[in-house]
Amino acid sequence: MKVYFDNNASTRVDSAVIEAMMPYFTEIISPPSSDYGHSFGVEAKEALDSARETIAAKINVKPSEIIFTSGQAESNNFAVKGIAFANIGKERKTFLASNVSHSTVLDSLSALKKLGFIVKLIKVDSKGFIDRNHLRELLSDSNDTPLLVSVPHGNVEIGTVEDIKEIAYICHEYNVPLHVEATYSFCKVPFDASVVDLATITSHLIHGPKGVGALYIKKGLKIQKLIDGGLQENKKRGGTENLPSIVGFAKAVEIYSQEINERVAELRDYLWQTFEKKISDFQITGPTKTEKRLPNHFSVVISYVEGESILLHLDLLDFMIATGSACSSKQLKASHVLSAIGLPTEVSHGSVRIGLSKYNTKEEIDQFIEHLSSIIARLRAISPMNAEFMREWQDLKDQGAIIEEEHHHDINDAEDD
């Protein structure tokens, strides 16, 4: 039996969701946009409208403000580039983003830099919260009024849940629109998107299908299409609507109740307590107050052991978790989030994070902690690192004796064959 604890990467699709999608695979085939054609199209349109209403209601916005996309990556690219292209050739050129933003936001911004846009990153504190003073500073310091601020609502790596109302209030004081990356918090933390200007949500983290998400765009906000062609999606996104997935997405939203969140949070708290009881030498990443975290999220750095090795040992025992260790990333770089909260790379190697879901159980957690503690013991037994090692290392660092060589080569530019 496999135990899946990586629900912040993706989740199992609920069988009720699959059932809801089925008729749209085999019966209601027509694209909803062909609604002047035939009644298949009308049925499709009804389903599309109804899905849009469900999702809009969940974040307290108008259905016409919900634009369906192919998921988080498209929504974030659309938000950022859409604002840029709607303002190209104008005075305002600056984008502000949290330095713990998702790579789809940060990489979109990097792309924009090449076109002459300016990108400034907002610092976060050691728990991953936006530094309000730094935000205000960047909002007022900039030569131009920034075009957009982008911040995550819930952080996938360290679980931090930002107070969006407060951030929105600050941004709007300076008349700057706010984009919220709500992929990981959607349905898990209450979210009134009507106080912000753009919001990314997605389906596959709430037991919905992959390949579908949405961008909330406040009515009246000037934005350029990312995907041109056709009048679909309130004229903001071309292409045949992915109706089966959209219907599945809405079904997933519909059944993701507060009760589920409470049940999962309880499991998470149980995991946390058991972890603290059974394992020594670790440090929680992100907020330690559970009410400031995603309800399904637990993350730590474990000392003297490396994340990929832990992961693989667990995997051989059929337990699936995640790490922010450099060794397990294709770029061999430590997670930018762990760096942003000030964790030294030598510490972040021991990063381990767990995303629980309604399908997990206490028994799984008990087994997991048992395995994990024996794996840690095993790895520590063969590790030259320990408290003394780290003290000496810190001394050397403090004396400036450590030159941080980056011997990991960058594979970003190479194409596969």
Binding site: V305, L312, H313, C327, H349, I382, W393, H407, H409
Partner: protein
């Protein structure tokens, strides 16, 4: 018996993981050889940097008469490849003379492991570096020089 079934399941999975790591890497990762330390070693080589994520300390016990590495142990912090290369390097060195051991190359270790992912090749360097440092450390402690191994 039960253990055997588990091993079989694990092996099956290892074959899956072989996309990334060869079967030999996975085997050694699961059961690394020569792990630990030697009290009062003849030589010690420390390499790596916790920032990079791989730290290896190699301990050797050398027969002063024959120059044979009679025992070797390694302590490794790092990823799967680091553990496997540590293990493989020590296996290769054990029983060899210092001269022979000094000639072990990073490529040989990687090849013996059935290859390593290209991003992970740097890890395989480290254990060989640690071994060489341990050998140099032994030579220096005994008033000898690396030149003794040449020719």
């Amino acid at each position: 018996m039960k253990k055997n079934i588990i091993m079989t399941l694990m092996m099956r999975k290892m074959i899956k993981m072989a996309h990334i790591y060869s079967e030999e890497v996975m085997k050694l990762f699961m059961n690394p050889k020569n792990m630990g330390e030697i009290e009062n070693p003849s030589g010690l080589g420390k390499v790596g940097n916790p920032v990079c994520g791989d730290v290896m300390w190699i301990y050797i016990k050398v027969n002063d008469e024959t120059d044979v590495i009679e025992d070797i142990k390694v302590k490794t912090f790092g990823c799967v490849a680091a553990i496997a290369t540590s293990s493989k390097t020590t296996e290769k060195a054990k029983g060899k003379t210092l001269k022979e051991a000094y000639k072990i190359t990073k490529k040989q270790v990687a090849d013996d492991l059935g290859g390593l992912p290209k991003q992970k090749m740097h890890c395989s360097n480290l254990a060989v570096d640690a071994l060489q440092r341990a050998i140099i450390n032994y030579l220096e402690k005994n008033g000898r020089s690396i030149k003794d191994l040449e020719g």
